[in-house]
């Protein structure tokens, strides 16, 4: 198989965020993969520079909001010679169906990638209804 070379994509900036904007600087839309199987929905988001303590996951009214905050990248004493990427927080919102068991959502950050597991509500077990003979 021919090796696949990666292409550079410009970071996409969020134009307006609801309830955000308390911090100066740009906010970016993280690239995500969304996967699903019988048991759960899986959201993987690239948020380089975000530490696990700086991630906020919010789910209300089936609106899933992911917020990742970054700490300053460069030391005060450093001067820029060359700049190809901008630095800023991440924000993205999704609508979910109501099959998600909100109490069992789990998230972790690893190497700048958020892994968010959204378990589905267990299906009601099939029940046999007996017809009582009169």
């Amino acid at each position: 198989m021919k090796e696949r070379e990666m292409e550079l994509k410009e970071k996409k900036e969020v134009k307006q965020t609801k309830g955000e904007g308390t911090r100066p600087g740009p906010v970016f839309i993280p690239a995500v993969d969304i996967l699903e199987n019988e048991r759960e929905l899986l959201v993987l988001a690239d948020m380089p520079g975000v530490d696990s303590k700086n991630v906020d996951i919010d789910l209300r009214d089936n609106q899933l909001t992911i917020i990742g905050r970054v700490d300053p990248l460069v030391n005060e004493k450093e001067g820029f010679l060359h700049k190809e990427f901008e630095w800023g927080d991440y924000y993205r919102q999704f609508s979910l169906s109501n099959v998600i068991d909100q109490s069992k959502i789990s998230a972790k950050m690893e190497e700048g990638v958020l892994r968010l597991v959204l378990p589905k509500i267990e299906k009601a077990k099939p029940q046999k209804i007996k017809v009582a003979a009169v």
Binding site: M6, A31, D33
Partner: protein
């Protein structure tokens, strides 16, 4: 390996951009063997300096440190590696796939002399920072003026 960085408006090349391109081409023809300091290949790099070091940073989320290869050769920094995404089990299907995978390699000409033996690199939260200590002759030197 001439991957061109994606631009939002490729059709709208202005006369000024075209001129700049021409001038850049002119320079690259006259200095064979040296990559332009500015290039549009993955990963995007930010270069900063203080009095002691040069710092080269890249956003490489999900790239394992052991899949990276970094070297300094004759005033140039070479970065290569691969980003893999481990497949989920086969019963898991994709709804959306935006995250990229693949190989990358990038070379930049360093803007000042460095000590290749002291170069170090670290990965943290998907950010790679390469610290390149400047060679003694490249460090700023304060010269005091004596009064006689």
């Amino acid at each position: 390996m001439a991957i061109i960085r994606w631009q939002p408006n490729p059709g709208g090349v202005s006369e000024f951009d075209r001129l700049r391109q021409e001038v850049n081409n002119l320079f690259s023809t006259f200095s064979p063997g040296t990559e332009p300091f500015f290039s549009r290949v993955y990963p995007a790099l930010n270069v900063t300096e203080d009095s002691e070091n040069l710092y080269v940073r890249a956003e490489l989320p999900g790239v394992k440190a052991d899949s990276m290869d970094i070297s300094v050769v004759e005033g140039r920094l070479l970065i290569s590696g691969e980003r893999k995404i481990e497949p989920e089990d086969e019963k898991t299907g994709y709804h959306r796939k935006e995250r990229e995978v693949g190989f990358f390699r990038r070379t930049i000409t360093l803007p000042s002399r460095v000590d290749p033996a002291k170069v170090s690199a670290a990965m943290k939260n998907g950010i790679m920072t390469i610290t390149l200590p400047k060679a003694e002759e490249a460090k700023p030197r304060k010269i005091s003026v004596k009064t006689t």
